[in-house]
Amino acid sequence: MQEIQTNDRSITKEAVTSFDTCIQCRGCEPACPSGVPYGSLIEQVRKTLVEERHILPRWQQIPFHILTRPRLLRFFTRLLVVANKLHLIPKQFAFPKNIPLRNKPLRRSGNDVYLFTGCVMDAWQRETHRSAKRVLERLGFGVIPTGDRIPCCGALHNHAGLVQSATEISETVIQSLSDDELPILVDSAGCGAALKEYGHLVGTNEAKQFSSRVFDIHEWVAEHLEALPVSQKLPITVVVQDPCHLRHVQRAHEAVRSVLEPFVDTLVDLKDDGLCCGAGGAFSLFQPALASKARERKVAEINAQRYDIVASANPGCLLYLQQAGIKIQHPMEIVDKALTANSDV
């Protein structure tokens, strides 16, 4: 990287391949004895590679433009859902079956915290947001879902090397949430990591101030657990799968355990030191063969355990592991279920 960026070493095919096949799980960061911030270095190199047209040709950039246009994204989502129902999408794409055709937007319930809803997650997994919102409300917080007001966090753009777009998106996001100082809670590990890094990406004091308001939802809930009603534990064994951007980047993965622990019978840790599941944001679309190799390892590790359900705090991992036939839910959905079951009794 240093050679390409500072010493002008020529960009060979092999160098491009090695960057293009990196999932950017950032597992290298906690492992590096010298604390090298690989994430931002790789993003800078990818920026150069995109600019010099080594990777990501223009047609591949189209989906990234859709992400920031929620109506268009929902339109395409519906198109895909219908196409899937008509069996027009080949099976190998394993398009998720549980995406509803229509889903009512989340309503504001007060004025205490923001719930960042994002792009694809809001279009495809709004039920997860609904669970997260219910949990927050039970804690006594009035929730402002960001909804279409903030269509996307720009994480996927940044990882792909579209740094300019990512910076523009982040400036818009900071601007839209700058009227107050309310905490911004995120239930997607990837988005949370990106929002927390705005300070670094944009570099202004305003951006740093913004990043300091961002919390992964589990960090927030873990801090306020005592406000939740004592619950009957769900009689299930849950395997915790740490999303890379929660564990290696935000380093907030322990909070997921603290949050789940009072609500389920047994928590099981995987013994793979937070190995990546292969989803890597858009990686599984661009490098399907490599991604599925990584997923095979993960699935084997999960299936070596006895469990009822896997918990993963990132939409990408959820979808990707679901496609491989793993029974998986967002931790917030599990907590929500436990709280609901409790109130029914």
Binding site: K13, E14, S18, A31, C32, P33, S34, G35, V36, D273
Partner: protein, 492 residues
């Protein structure tokens, strides 16, 4: 021929393939023999500041048989080889000189067998040091050598360099934890060195092979001794108003008959850097801090900890903190182990030196090191394994500044001289590699070196295994004779 190759390269056509590469490819597979410019460039470096490396084809074997194949092919073609682990070496031991085949052992990374009853684990050389300890942790065991790079460095690399780590003060360095080695010798023969019995038959060649920096062959399987986790651990952090007081405390503790598991000293500069990096709770106003760990049975640990406290106060400690919880203990160690990451806040490059001096002269040597740094206008920081007198002065610099690297090397040479004059040795744990080759003459007589060379020669008569390392030039194996046999123009 070389002219035609150069011409073909110049007009972008593929040069005639090196027959060495085609043989390697057919023995392994296409994706595990890489010879593109990027791979060769990456495998021409390690974590040291030396950049004269030039890698030939890079091979990724997955079994002893494949390593054997590579060795035989190299012998047939009269070419040299260099084994490589994670590339975290700081003395340039894995830097390929003269375009040898680089044998990257990272894909041989399986823990083959753990025998808790006999406290032995068989591992492949590419297993990461910390992974082995994590794996053994379930049963309450660990692998004792713990270099600061343990989360990435490989056991094979530890064997090659006879690596140490903070906790080696009580437990001994790598050679105290290796029972047997399966090695592939430079002629392709497989041999087992050492054995699992307490007194294995025949000559015990482990001492010769461990620490030989890949100059005698390649390890393909290692039987390591595994160590039971201690029932109790006590960690103390002592602050001092002078480096001399910290160094004297170290000597006083050992003189009192206590051998702590670890004794690490950090100076004020590094403490400040670490504190703003991880917030481990180190006192930033102290001139030096001493991190001491005692292990054993609960009562013994308590007694030793209180004796160390007393000694600390006698020597003028300004503050003593005892870790109250595992979390606090981990945080204190995190500070020590991320020291090298923390200094990136101060300068982009560092040269980490490694010498050993008698414990009693620690304070004097450190003062002289400070003077050297001042003379060359460099920032020096000290973080080191004080218990065994293993100094690690860190020279901080920016390589982009003209003439800086030369200054750093000159300062390094002076530090080396000071250590030797104080009765020390060249290296505590990083090895000789190419970094300290030129100083071997200052420590060893010609006769010593000649004998070392003969030993090496017994394993590798053609000098094809990691040529140009350890022994200084003038001794036959140091000459990169294999270089002459590389077809010109292919690996230039």
């Amino acid at each position: 021929m070389s002219f035609i190759n150069n011409l073909k390269n110049a007009i972008g056509r593929k040069a005639t393939p090196d027959p060495f590469v085609s043989d390697l490819t057919s023995a392994l597979s296409k994706d595990r023999v890489r010879f593109d410019a990027t791979q060769r460039f990456l495998h021409s470096h390690d974590a040291s500041v030396f950049d004269e490396g030039n890698a030939g084809p890079v091979c990724f074997p997955t079994s002893t048989q494949e390593v054997q194949e590579i060795m035989k092919i190299a012998k047939t073609h009269g070419r040299s080889i260099v084994a490589r682990g994670a590339g975290t070496g700081l003395a340039g031991g894995a830097i390929p000189l003269g375009a040898p085949a680089v044998i990257a052992m990272t894909k041989m990374n399986k823990i083959l067998e753990v025998d808790i009853d006999n406290r032995i684990a068989w591992v492949e050389p590419g297993v990461i040091n910390l992974d082995l300890s994590s794996h053994l942790g379930v049963d309450g065991y660990h692998f004792a050598p713990d270099p600061s790079s343990q989360q990435v460095c490989t056991i094979g690399g530890n064997v090659a360099n006879n690596s140490g780590g903070p906790h080696c003060l009580a437990y001994g360095v790598t050679d105290a934890h290796v029972l047997a080695l399966e090695v592939v010798l430079p002629d392709g023969e497989v041999a087992v060195i050492g054995g699992l019995d307490p007194e294995p038959l025949g000559l015990d060649l482990r001492g010769a092979f461990i620490g030989s920096e890949g100059t005698m062959g390649i390890t393909t399987k290692i039987a390591v001794r595994i160590t039971k986790n201690p029932p109790a651990v006590g960690t103390l952090l002592l602050s001092f108003s002078s480096m001399r007081a910290a160094a004297q405390t170290v000597s006083a503790v050992i003189a009192a008959g206590i051998v702590p598991a670890a004794m690490e000293v950090m100076d004020q500069r590094i403490t400040k850097a670490v504190e703003s990096f991880v917030g481990a709770g180190y006192p930033t106003d102290a001139a030096a801090v001493l991190l001491v760990e005692v292990e054993g049975l609960t009562d013994g640990v308590a007694i030793e900890a209180s004796r160390i406290r007393d000694i600390g106060f006698e020597q003028g400690a300004t503050g003593i903190r005892v870790a109250e919880s595992d979390h606090e203990r981990e945080l204190l160690w995190k500070g020590r182990k991320t020291a090298f990451g923390a200094i990136a806040q101060i300068a982009p490059d560092y040269y980490l030196h490694d010498t050993v001096v008698p414990r009693s002269s620690l304070a004097d040597v450190l003062e002289k090191v400070d003077e050297v740094a001042e003379k060359y206008g460099l920032i020096v920081m000290n973080v080191f394994h004080a218990g065994d007198g293993n100094l690690h002065p860190l020279l901080l610099f920016d390589v982009r500044e003209e003439g800086m690297l030369e200054k750093v090397h000159a300062a390094g040479a002076e530090i080396m001289k000071i250590s030797l004059e104080a009765g020390g040795v060249l290296s505590g744990e990083h090895g000789i590699g190419i970094e300290k080759q030129a100083y071997m003459n200052q420590l060893f007589s010609d006769d010593d070196l000649d004998h070392q060379n003969r030993l090496r020669y017994a394993f590798d008569p053609d000098c094809r295994s990691n040529p140009g390392k350890v022994l200084p030039s003038g001794h036959s194996c140091a000459d990169i004779q294999a270089l002459k046999k590389v077809p010109e123009g292919i690996w230039g």
